[in-house]
Symmetry: D2
């Protein structure tokens, strides 16, 4: 009997009892996820957030495995071993297309990690060989689930909905590593309360407060961790490094990995899957090292700021008018910083729960199904909230009292960086 057991800080044990799944874990494409952090630049805010997408992928797999045990026992689902493998594989592979700091990349380049996930699943030789072992439609079905094509509605919901194994694992895992209790919820009870009826996933009404707890865990993790101003500022920094590097291609490209060069030249020939897979956070970090010695002073300075955590300073305030923004840009330029790279504003919004179209379905005691927010006032009122944040070099405050004072007056805030 095949069995591999991996110790895990969240689930205690991750059990791989299917040799085929184990062969997927051991592909280069999955192992590469060890070199991509789960929370991008968050480790610059919460030093413990050093865990990788590899650990999370195993965790999502394990959550799915436990959920399938319950669904099998209770509802005789999945009906086939192929469906079971599809569900497990999609949990393991759902993040396989992520690149280094993907969310930031996506804002700068024409790049979508979902596209890369699809391409890897269909084109990577090693992965494809494994998937074809099941049958030749398997890879397409896997992609279909991730792209929500509707052929496997249950699996689709289990991996990507408002209540899925992806979110369940990352809330607990990100909470553990950042050291906060915000992401905690009753995992075992949630799993046990999931029902399948009429070919749809729903959750039993008597677990409604447990679902609320899970929704609130998302809310608190967004409010306190994922959208932390310092993290957003780190993302801004990475985005501006990439932007500058693209504009200064000749300088930046020196000695760069081919994959990175290709991605920087978005107009050049398309990147191959193989090249893409050579991209990870060590590649990008090494590029930052190189760029920190660049002749382009802006590129060099931004790179060093990232490597040595001299981040842009975040100021939470109400969104300034265009006129005030213009004045701020002038001030920043007057202090010797190009506002194009040293000044930014970001609005971040928390959406802990979206109910139009794809809400969580509650199976009531009366036998019907009702969307969660119609039963839970707490969830219903948990509407989107937004926060605006401005970023600029901390040194302006420290070195130039007059400028600092003017910025404070313009933004009507009292900020004293240290």
């Amino acid at each position: 009997m095949f069995e591999r057991v991996l110790k895990d800080p969240v689930h205690d044990e991750i059990v791989v009892d299917d040799a085929w799944i184990w062969s997927l874990v051991n592909t280069a494409a999955v192992q590469r996820l060890r070199r991509i952090r789960q929370l991008g630049t968050s480790y610059l805010t919460f030093h413990g957030a050093e865990h990788s997408r590899f650990s999370h992928s195993l965790g999502a797999y394990e959550t799915m495995r436990r959920l399938l045990q319950h669904l099998q026992k209770r509802f005789g689902w999945p009906h086939s071993d192929r469906d079971r493998k599809l569900a497990l594989a999609v949990a393991l592979l759902h993040d396989v297309g992520h690149g280094p700091f993907s969310h930031t990349f996506e804002k700068v380049y024409a790049y979508h990690h979902e596209d890369w996930t699809r391409r890897i699943l269909l084109e990577d030789e090693e992965i494809r060989r494994r998937l074809d072992e099941i049958d030749t439609d398997f890879a397409q079905d896997l992609v279909g689930v991730l792209e929500k094509r509707g052929k496997f509605p249950i699996i689709q919901q289990l991996i990507s909905s408002q209540l899925d194994v992806d979110r369940m694992d990352y809330l607990l895992r990100d909470g553990l590593h950042t050291g906060v209790s915000y992401g905690s919820f009753e995992l075992a009870r949630i799993l046990r309360s999931i029902v399948i009826s009429d070919g749809q996933v729903a959750i039993s009404e008597n677990a409604i407060h447990t679902v609320e707890q899970y929704i609130l865990a998302r809310y608190f993790m967004y409010a306190q961790v994922y959208l932390h101003p310092v993290t957003i500022g780190s993302d801004v920094l990475v985005a501006n490094i990439l932007k500058r590097a693209r504009e200064q291609q000749e300088t930046a490209a020196l000695y760069l990995p081919k994959a990175l060069t290709a991605i920087l030249h978005e107009d050049s020939r398309p990147l191959s899957v193989k090249e893409y897979l050579a991209l990870d956070e060590s590649t990008l970090t090494y590029a930052f090292h190189l760029w920190s010695g660049s002749k382009d002073e802006v590129l060099a300075d931004l790179s060093k700021r990232f490597l040595y955590r001299r981040l842009l300073y975040p100021i939470v305030c109400s969104e300034p008018s265009l006129e005030i923004r213009a004045q701020l840009r002038t001030l920043i330029r007057a202090n010797g910083y190009d506002p194009e790279y040293y000044f930014a504003g970001r609005t971040s919004g928390i959406t802990a729960y979206i109910y139009h179209g794809e809400g969580i379905s509650i199976a009531t005691k009366k036998g019907d199904k009702v969307e969660l927010s119609r039963l839970s006032k707490l969830v219903r009122e948990l509407s989107t909230s937004e926060e605006f944040c401005l970023f600029l070099p901390r040194e302006i405050f420290l070195e130039n009292g007059e400028t600092a004072e003017r910025i404070r007056r313009l933004l009507q805030v009292s900020v004293y960086p240290s």
Copy 2:
């Protein structure tokens, strides 16, 4: 009042209430530790072991801070703010000289992370400027503590002895991240039981079982985590990559970071501190990426094995005779592998407690001080144990039944890799 509070998965909160310490945290040399994993290649065995030496350095600092609070309250020690700063800084900086996979590096090259720690503390401009803020002897005193020159016996013991803040933090931290309970012990009680008498650190006799628990935590972490055969095999792989790269300098050095080139050419001009600090795990990982495309097939293959976790297979057995080793080498060569890079034996020994010279001192109820192992039979009998392990390519087993059978017979083991 200055205060920075960092959330931490081990200590809940890390409190920096001294602006000078905070300025040390924010040096490039300390921030670089974010890019060096605490447990080297262990993450290939325990996927959760992705935490960095930066997190551990903060943890060692926090443990020292709490310990000093106790010692101050109880024994009025440290007597001066300078001593307090010295103790805190040494906890924060004790690992600053570590490089990527340092322990492995040290086996291949004339390289000692302790030397680099000393050089960074004395020569790195930014660090040195901070240290000189206290006084011009401070940097030398810091080095002196780490090199056990005896001028600050108490601080020396608190950072580097059989019972020190370094070990206390890493046992708990490594346990948490690998997901095992082996490293747990009663931290608060240990800290509270530390006494200072006659200018020496000792531990109160009524905490003797708690000290035993701590010693056993070390034993179990060595037995189950630190010396795991898969981890040792990963280290062998890294060592062999580096060995091959040194021998194939011309090929290997293409496009390499200067620092790495310099370190590979150990006969070349000495590395500067600045160059050394540009070396981290992203640099080395990127080198592995490059080497994985090298024309040298051995270097390329070894690099890919590391990146995609196709590790050498460990066989725990009794140490074979020279004759049997020779036969094994012949077999391995016959299978197309150069035994110089694909075959190795390692003996690993657990030493949970060393009592000659530098044991833990117990302050007895009668008022004298006695070395721990004289009071604790459990610790006394916890003598060194050793295990031998052989490493070779897994494929030999999978592809060649006859060879596999001969290896098993030669080693008198029954091994069935999968």
Copy 3:
């Protein structure tokens, strides 16, 4: 230096570093709290809820101690050792007047645990002697704080407000013992964010999400633990036992402890503090043992039901009309049960946060103070919710299908006890 350290499952260590506090811990009145469960009958729903008010009292004390350390360091408060002792003592003693299942008692008899707390603090010889050691006003001041007379506004808020050490400890402690994660929140951060300004307690604005988490922890603990229908049903049972015993005084009083007899005869001479202190859950449980052998069948049956957990069955439904209630009573009587003791309805309401009059004050960045619900939409919308529940003997469902069917139809519910 005086120091007693007690291991605690919630706070790791409880540190008593004041010999006078230790002398209070060791009074008979405080030790008696070991024999009164913190959560009354909840252990019949959550078997782990076996912890006592003694453990909670120590926990509230410890939370206060840590909070005072912070306030002292930050705001130089408390200004005097007397105030410090008052704050610590009030945390330790705030529950000293609780009797066995007090909340239930209070519903049946003219009994208020707050009255008994006051009487014990003022009249118990041993307690009073300790309090008088500080000064002769101390006992009155202690009572004054608990009765919110306003003389010590800060201490009053710290022990009894929407955000106090009492709630902080019990949420964490009750969560731990019941085995749920609902009560978790960031204790250390809350404590660190408490500020004193203008002689009032407030909480720093940047901890607003942490306060939300704490308010939600209360909400979830009420929804999932404190107001669990099975627990409410257990309380109904205890109340009905006491009611019956009062009505059947002659039978019930046989061999009863004097204190219990006196309390049952509410018209008789008033109970002395000494007699009251002899009352604990062992006294009451022993009475249930005796009554389970009573000649009065109702008293005997109800007592056995409690002792052996054959509880009334809870049916969550909308509150029935008087007419339907009357029909239900008739049905129950027809099945051989006196509805006076075997039938009850209870409305339970969750109020996670009350903001009129005594809300949580947020110290904003702008320097003013604003009531929490004006800044937090989440808290504002967390209005009171109510649930109605009916209780009756489970056997009616199991033994009489026709009656069961009629009850279901009357209540328009589908209930299948097992």
Copy 4:
């Protein structure tokens, strides 16, 4: 499908998926265990140790349930549903005969909780009816397993050997509630490593360090919790109360529960099972309340000491000679205390592992079975250790300096109670 899920602080969830097991949980005999603390008087040392034998019984059941899942999947054992039920029932019921402070009772009276377990299983009407539902031999087989008659060797080992579900649950549970980390070990891995071969239970060799960790957890729990001098002193107190009550029957028996009277008069007619089951810690505690008002001053004083935690003071020392003991008794008597009740010596010995006859069997890689201590030097050397402790009234030290000094000199210790 039948399923009851109970939240548990140790195992997260306790799953009862067999209606028959649930019917056993709900018997009066099992519910009574809620009124008997798992650790006797330990809560007077570790205030958190308030959990009951009921919680532990559920935990032992759950550990068995998980273990059976593994054994079923791996070894197809148990072969029949009857064996499965036998294993689950024995885990749930193994402690059913325990009375209040049983271990202490056993030292004073001719009383063995094992006898009561047997009698309850065979004679209690409600329990017997449930057991007979399986078949009429079931009750005898259950008793047979507990009495190690050898008919069901595997089940016997799983419930009562050096590595059984009883110990596994209580180490974790007692650790959690006392708040210490000493009892932690890798439960999931131990369970997964248990093998059945040749009809015997053994543990796989590669889990040998995990077994060591478990043995050490026992050692530390004995050393730090179970044999804590303050707990032993509390037991001495209970024993002396019972001894005095027996000797002063006429006084003591006033108003006493029949069961207690009967047990005190050991020469009287034998106690029935029904009477025995009415005995729990509330009964005994209530007796202490009554006795605390007794005319017999010794009985009254000892009872108050227990109720209000004015325990005998423990002095750890080497065992004194008969002559010195005699002198101590004289001294104590001279201070107004009858040494028969206020003076005692106890030797407590830690035996973390017993290997003669019934050691833990390790299934080696070579295929044979070897007793643990032959493979583990750590376990082999963990020999029995003993500690002697003397108990006497603390007041003697506080009130009579001269006596205190003489005691110290006689015992050659330095004791300063406070």
